[in-house]
């Protein structure tokens, strides 16, 4: 019986479980596909309902993880193969070369400016560019850049560029680093792979991708963030002006995915608050159908913002929302509470798009041999009520990999998974 634990995903659920298991003396392998740990929370400058600073919430946890001797953090890594059964899993992990030595690099950032390559920064929701050697965002932890081998002129064979290595005073750039396949043995696995958001570019009626003033909720989070693409200035991507009127659309894609994402109503209220805070004269509308506030604290937060920041407009049919460009403005038309078609003109639209299973998680769940539900989330075993057990003994699920949920529910699942693992040995 092996006591080690593999945790896949380093969001709040994965980090919380890692620290707890380490405290109980277990060796933890924390695998993260990105070059930084922390998950989605750090994309939000402030998190609801008490609007505490997300970095302040997460950074100490990230630091604890990185300094913990029982936790082996594997970034830019993915799980390739899993063999064996509960108590004795053999796991093959594909660890991509970072090309920057984690021990030598200090995170001073001197290597970025000389890099001649520019590419889109997906972590910043495509709202800005990054170099071929980059950290996804200011404040990334570990504070060590990664070199994109496909884009780097030297690594992709275009030319003998050596500019980042020349700029590094610590000799931390290492072009000879190779991708590795690492095999680890563990007794249990926690799947904490999180979520992504629904691609709304296919939804004709919303104009996303065609009308530049239409943003997704995560794009807006980055726009608002002081470490984001505009350093927190709320300016539109084309005009570079601040919007004077904004429509926030709840429940985007809900009927396409078939479930409520449970957090959008509260974060959409938060977005109204953000807008009012930075643009006090802006006119803000929240278009809702059902308001879902599933925590004792959420209604108070909702009412406070509804009172001063925004006008809540009921739309009778979520699927009849239509967003089109009308001159310099955006027209949002909807079916109102009297069942009549109505509309408002705004400068900016924020879509609260549904949470969906994380990209490429289907492959991973197949590799792990665990069942998913009809939506693609990990199916928890309903014969054990409220369980974090998956269909395969020894493999547990926590956080949004199991379905949409808020931060506290993710943490609770992580802690429940820890209990399941520790009570077995």
């Amino acid at each position: 019986m092996n006591n080690n634990v593999l945790i896949i995903g380093s969001g709040i659920a994965g980090m919380d479980a890692s620290l707890m298991l380490s405290r109980a003396g277990k060796k933890v392998f924390l695998v993260e596909k990105l070059s930084l740990i922390g998950g989605k929370i750090i994309k939000n400058e402030e998190s609801f309902p008490n609007l505490d600073c997300s970095t302040c919430l997460i950074a100490p946890i990230q630091q604890d993880i990185l300094q913990d001797k029982n936790i082996e953090v594997m970034t830019v890594s993915t799980v390739q193969k899993v063999e064996g059964t509960a108590g004795n899993f053999k796991v093959k992990i594909f660890k991509k070369a970072r090309y920057v030595n984690m021990q030598d690099c200090l995170g001073c950032g001197m290597c970025y400016p000389p890099c001649p390559v520019s590419q889109i920064n997906e972590w910043e929701e495509n709202l800005m560019e990054k170099k071929a050697v980059y950290v996804p965002t200011a404040g990334s932890l570990p504070n060590v850049p990664v070199i994109d081998a496909d884009k780097c002129l030297r690594l992709n064979g275009t030319e003998e560029c050596n500019k980042c290595a020349e700029a590094c005073m610590f000799g931390a750039i290492d072009f000879t680093e190779k991708d590795e396949e690492i095999e680890v043995e563990v007794g249990s696995i926690i799947v904490a792979t999180g979520f992504d958001t629904l691609d709304v570019s296919e939804m004709e009626n919303l104009g996303y991708g065609k009308i530049s003033g239409v943003y997704t909720a995560l794009e807006f989070e980055r726009l608002f963030s002081s470490n984001g693409p505009t350093e927190g200035k709320l300016t539109l991507r084309d005009s570079k002006k601040s919007p004077e009127s904004i429509a926030i659309i709840h429940c985007v894609g809900r009927d396409d995915v078939g479930y409520c994402s449970s957090v959008c109503c509260t974060y959409s209220a938060k977005h109204a608050h953000f807008l009012k805070h930075k643009l006090p004269n802006a006119k803000i509308y929240n278009f809702y159908n059902d308001i879902c506030l599933p925590d004792k604290t959420y209604q108070k937060f909702h009412e406070k913002i509804k009172g001063h920041a925004t006008e809540f407009i009921f739309q009778a049919d979520r699927n009849k929302m239509n967003i089109i460009q009308k001159g310099a403005k955006i027209e949002v038309s909807y079916i109102d509470k009297k069942d009549i078609k109505n509309s408002v003109l705004v400068d900016m639209v924020i879509l609260a798009n549904a949470m969906v299973p994380a990209n490429s998680s289907t492959e991973l769940y197949e590799t792990l041999g665990i069942e998913t539900d009809k939506y693609g989330f990990v199916a928890s075993q309903t014969f054990r009520i409220g369980s974090v057990a998956t269909s395969k003994p020894g493999i547990f699920v926590a956080g949004c990999a199991e379905g949409p949920k808020d931060i506290q529910s993710s943490v609770i699942q992580a802690e429940a998974a820890v209990a399941q693992i520790l009570s077995k040995n």
Partner: protein, 560 residues
């Protein structure tokens, strides 16, 4: 022993070195008037946090035998722990060291190198002043008891007991009523999120009864509790026999549940006991017992109105589970007969789990859903305003009310005993709503289920398991507990016994000694937050490592 102070300036590669004059800093420090009779060792290093740097520092401390150490480097958030760990390997007590941040606070914030240098000298000088007033502090180890008291024998408490129990950990499960799992026994079916098999829940009751590591006390209440994580002394009292039991536990799980609001206390809902107005819980029980919905006269109703969000307006929060269980009741009624007309009156549907919407959609063509903005009740007569502004009145045969979940009446009593905060609604408060949602402000006291707010069965069970997760990581059998070192202490001679500090302590770490007439800090509980220090009118409290002389010595130079 005479003072010998080690001062090490980290260059942080180019981060500090390129923005301040390192040599000038070292020269200025060597010339300080007020330190001329002290022995100083002043050196720089390229990168103190590196493997080489740490080894260098360790050797330097050992060779020089410093009495005090000042490191001028980065933010303590980055590397304070790193250097504390270096000190721990040497003879130097780690509380005789101080890190000074000359990177974020000097090097990185000035374009003028001379200004940054001058400020760095001042800050380091301030740190040197401070360390002279620091005292060695030593970590102590305390024995801890791994056993657990679970308060409440409902589904949540049962789960907490089963998930925590083990060979080396006994669980004492107390329930104030006669039986365990009372609420579960009143259910007919479960919701999709909760699994399809109600027997699983019922099985848990016999599991807990048959578990030799779990001792069950029914008809029992908590009489008293004193102590802290790992060491709580508890007294249990049997309500019937008045017999008391004294036990020692390491942790407590609060799972005393919640109550349902009485709709007759609401101004908008006027009805008598013999009216055909029922709460959803009464209806669930009716189905569970007789599998049939009947009016008070025994006949089947022809029309039933289900009213959502009863009392929510007054409560100010969503009870989270009502939309789902009303769907369940609609399913029951529809299964009983297609001829019963079902109408649901709601403002918003709250379906927060991934299983909920599909379940709701299965019933939508069998139920008339009416969205309203307001509703009031007189007997079974409903007066309502629809979302489009129309008013209407109707009188169905039967009305079923989804009433709000409210905190249990004995929460304040428990909160006082356990020294745990309640929130503004009267539910137990989380240590941190997001990152520590089942812990409380008292270490070793955990909360699960509706004791901390509205929650469904599956959610309550997860919370109970999460409590077990915390207990299994914080109270490992045989492992000692190391309490906080930087705690408050009260100078008895100065204490006037005003008890202000007892009110401001968020951890219940201070108690009052009636004989001496002074407040006393329990160092095992204190976290060193300093609230009491600020509140004390006679200045008799100080927090170790943050004493007034230490802070004054630092500030007087920094603000000079």
């Amino acid at each position: 022993m005479s003072d010998k102070i080690g001062i090490y300036v980290c260059e942080c590669g180019p981060n500090i070195a390129s923005r301040v004059h390192i040599d000038k800093i070292m020269e200025d420090l060597a010339k300080l008037e007020d330190f001329k009779d002290k022995e100083l060792v002043i050196k720089n290093h390229k990168l103190l946090c590196s493997v080489d740097g740490k080894k260098f520092l360790e050797d330097e401390i050992n060779e020089n035998g410093f009495s005090h150490l000042v490191l001028a480097a980065c933010s303590p958030r980055d590397h304070d722990t790193t250097f504390i760990n270096v000190c721990k390997k040497t003879k130097l007590n780690p509380y005789m060291y101080r890190i000074i941040n000359i990177r974020e606070q000097c090097a990185w914030v000035y374009s003028d190198k001379d200004v940054a240098t001058e400020k760095a000298v001042r800050y380091i000088h301030a740190g040197m002043n401070r360390v002279l007033y620091q005292k060695p502090l030593n970590e102590t180890e305390l024995d801890s008891n791994p056993d657990v008291l679970v308060i409440g024998g409902g589904t949540t408490g049962i789960e907490a007991a089963l998930s925590s129990a083990g060979e080396n950990r006994k669980i004492f499960l107390i329930e104030k009523e006669e039986n365990l799992g009372d609420l579960t026994s009143k259910l007919k079916e479960l919701l999709p999120r909760q699994g399809s098999n109600l027997n699983v829940l019922k099985q848990r009751i016999s599991d807990v009864q048959n578990n030799k590591n779990i001792r069950i006390f029914t008809n029992t209440e908590l009489e008293s509790i004193v102590g802290f994580l790992g060491n709580f002394e508890i007294v249990l009292k049997n309500k019937k026999s008045d017999e008391t039991t004294e036990l020692l536990v390491g942790a407590v799980v609060m799972a005393n549940g919640a109550e349902l609001q009485n709709p007759q206390e609401l101004t908008d809902f006027n009805f008598q006991n013999d009216d055909n107005v029922f709460t959803a819980q009464e209806v669930e029980e009716m189905f569970s017992q007789s599998d049939k919905l009947t009016l008070r006269n025994g006949n089947e109703p022809k029309s039933v109105a289900l009213v959502h969000c009863v009392g929510r307006k007054d409560l100010g929060y969503c009870s989270k589970i009502c939309c789902n269980y009303l769907q369940k009741i609609a399913h029951y009624i529809n299964e009983q007969s297609n001829n019963i007309e079902i109408t649901e009156f709601y403002k918003h549907l709250c379906l927060p789990n991934k299983e909920d919407q599909e379940y709701h959609q299965k019933i939508t063509d069998k139920v008339n859903f009416v969205r309203i903005t307001d509703i009031s009740l007189c007997g079974t007569e409903l007066n309502l305003t629809k979302i489009n502004g129309e008013n209407s009145t109707l009188k169905p045969d039967m009305v079923i009310l989804a009433t709000g979940i409210i905190p249990a009446k004995d929460n304040p009593k428990f909160a006082k005993m356990l020294k745990v905060d309640l929130d503004e609604r009267g539910f137990f408060n989380e240590a941190h709503l997001k990152k520590d949602p089942i812990s409380t402000n008292t270490d070793g006291v955990f909360i699960a289920g509706t004791t901390k707010g509205p929650a469904g069965i599956s959610e309550s069970i997860l919370q109970a398991q999460a409590c077990a997760g915390k207990i299994l990581t914080q109270l490992i059998p045989g492992q000692k507990i190391i309490p906080e070192v930087m705690v408050s202490e009260i100078l008895e001679a100065y204490c006037r016994g005003c008890k202000t500090c007892l009110d401001v302590c968020g951890f219940g770490a201070i108690y009052f000694d009636e004989d001496k007439g002074v407040s006393i800090v329990n160092e095992a509980i204190c976290r060193g937050c300093g609230n009491c220090v600020g509140s004390c009118p006679s200045g008799s409290i100080r927090t170790k490592y943050f004493t007034n002389p230490q802070l004054y010595q630092e500030v007087k130079e920094a603000l000079r």
